[in-house]
């Protein structure tokens, strides 16, 4: 494996997920301080801060990098704020990486935090008929779970997945999340409990769909030389960050679209957008799915986790349900997926989520993940997809 483009993870930190009723600024500051302490650095040592933005915190949310820098105490660091919906965290990590590899900064603090309202995510207010996100609610009432329901039903028709298969994903992730002190939901869930929960978007039930949460995650990233000088001789390394967009024509109905592209004039890629996200990461890292010790994927719904198995190449098309039935992706299985407990146990704190995935890889590769530790973990991947065509995948190695 090559390592010329590696950067080191010097520190990782989180604020526990939940519904705490406080500001995203407070959550982000707690996570940032935890990551700095984990790195053994003082805040003034950091010369660049990258904030993953939130659209739910007013103006301070749009300028998250400066918001966190101010909360930690102005010290003159270079600042960047990025937004890419659910993929914002990966964009923040990639921005930090570009600064480190180009020599613009030696050590960078990356922070993402959110305070989410209860219930469905809603579009920004006002009368905005030019905004596809506004239109899908106004014209169709198409919530995020509605899209998850469409994908789940399509799997049932194409691959023979059943609601029991979807429930197995929840049972697996809840069991892992019960072992994670940062998870919002920390108790085991049975298949019967999933089946008894209310249908939200047929065929998906409440316990098939991730909640919306408060939470924050942060990383301290630096160059390999800086890490060595700082005494970290064998740090977790980020080897690839994929931030790809779809290719035209995109033939899978993506949020927040009302229709797909037309494939009349151009042949679709043989790889779906989600599959292309992981392929770009594998290519950059020079590894393949057979090298993975673990994966953290964006289980917005139970059924979507099964799609990620296929998109990451853990199995062939349509074989996702077989993997969860056989326990391949559970803790103790061949390739545990969502050892953190996933969104099923955390709920979604949008700009924090892709950063939190990398925190889990970091702890697993360090061997400090406690009761949910995967023996001998050496290589991990994260995968995530943001509204409006944002790919996100990070490969970390040790």
């Amino acid at each position: 494996m090559s390592g010329a483009g590696d950067i080191a993870v010097l520190g990782a930190g989180m604020h526990p997920w939940g519904k705490w009723g406080r500001s995203f600024v407070e959550y982000g500051t707690v996570a940032a301080r935890a990551a700095l302490a984990d790195a053994g650095l003082d805040w003034p040592d950091v010369r660049s801060v990258v904030g993953a933005a939130t659209v739910r915190g007013g103006y301070p949310g749009y300028v998250a990098g400066a918001t966190f820098a101010r909360a930690l105490g102005w010290q003159g660091a270079r600042v960047t704020s990025v937004y890419a919906a659910c993929a914002s965290g990966a964009q923040a990590i990639n921005t930090a990486r570009a600064q480190i590899l180009s020599g613009m900064a030696e050590v960078v603090l990356v922070v993402g935090a959110d305070a989410a309202p209860k219930g469905f995510f809603a579009p920004a207010g006002g009368e905005r008929p030019d905004d596809p996100d506004w239109l899908r609610f106004r014209v169709l009432g198409a919530t995020n779970p509605a899209y998850f329901g469409l994908y789940a039903r399509r799997r049932m028709a194409l691959h023979g997945d059943t609601p029991d298969d979807f429930a197995r994903v929840k049972v697996k992730n809840a069991a892992a999340g019960a072992l994670n002190p940062y998870a919002r939901y920390r108790k085991a869930v049975s298949a019967e409990e999933v089946a008894a929960s209310a249908v939200v978007a047929d065929p998906l039930r409440l316990l098939d769909i991730c909640a919306t949460s408060d939470g924050a995650a942060a990383l301290v990233l630096c160059g390999m030389d800086y890490a060595r000088r700082h005494g970290a001789v064998d740090p977790v390394r980020i080897r690839a960050v994929s931030t790809v967009t779809p290719t035209y024509p995109n033939t899978v109905l993506d949020l927040p679209d009302i229709a797909t592209d037309s494939a009349v004039a151009a042949e679709p890629s043989p790889y779906s957008f989600r599959a292309s996200i992981a392929r770009a990461a594998y290519e950059e890292a020079g590894i393949g799915p057979e090298d993975l010790s673990l994966a953290e994927v964006y289980d917005l719904s139970t059924a979507l986790e099964l799609e990620w198995y296929e998109d990451l190449g853990l199995c062939g098309a349509g074989e996702g349900a077989k993997l969860v039935r056989e326990g391949v992706t559970a803790l103790g299985g061949r390739v545990p997926v969502n050892a953190s407990g996933g969104l099923a146990s955390f709920g979604e704190a949008v700009p924090a989520q892709a950063i939190a995935q990398v925190c889990e890889l970091t702890w697993q590769l360090r061997g400090t993940a406690g009761e949910r530790q995967i023996d001998g973990a050496r290589t991990g991947i994260t995968a995530n997809q943001g509204l409006f065509g944002h790919g996100s995948s990070v490969i970390a190695v040790r």
């Binding site: 469409l150 039903r153 209310a198 065929p203 229709a259 004039a265």
Partner: protein
């Protein structure tokens, strides 16, 4: 009180209330790519420099790509009567063969997920999204094609 029938979005479908009802997209005159919702300024095919897009009616019929429903009230700007008992609505994603694309829409009222199957033939029909003082907001609905129709 009479209400004015007004499309919820201008230019997305014809005004016809009968058999002539169609979704309206645009077609690139250079590469023939079809767009819905309509693109009027640029072709989005990266291999095409087309700038001339003309309005085109989409296929009346297609096949169900997938379907779901909304069991809980969605947030605004979806409009509903807060006094009324919530009635779940069904959403259908429909594959149009000629256009090689999938278009989402609500099913006609009364059609539930139990009435649908992936691959089933459906057709586009005029529908009402919501009514308020002076205005009936119109939309498109998907309706299963009766066997033999």
């Amino acid at each position: 009180m009479t209400r004015m029938r007004t499309p919820v979005v201008a230019g997305w479908f014809t005004e016809a209330e009968d058999e002539g009802f169609r979704l309206l997209g645009t077609r690139c005159s250079a590469c023939a790519s079809v767009f819905f919702p309509r693109e009027d300024s640029f072709c989005r095919n990266p291999g095409c420099a087309g700038r001339e897009l003309t309005e085109v009616p989409l296929s009346r019929r297609g096949r169900v790509w997938s379907y779901t429903d909304g069991r809980y009230r969605p947030p605004a700007p979806y409009v509903f009567d807060p006094e009324a008992v919530w009635q779940p609505y069904t959403l259908v994603a429909v594959e149009l063969e000629a256009e090689r694309m999938v278009v989402l829409g609500q099913a006609v009222p009364g059609v539930t997920t139990a009435d649908l199957a992936v691959g089933m033939e459906v057709e586009v029909v005029p529908g009402v999204l919501n009514e308020e003082a002076g205005t009936t907001w119109t939309t498109w609905h998907w309706r299963p094609v009766e066997a033999g129709a």
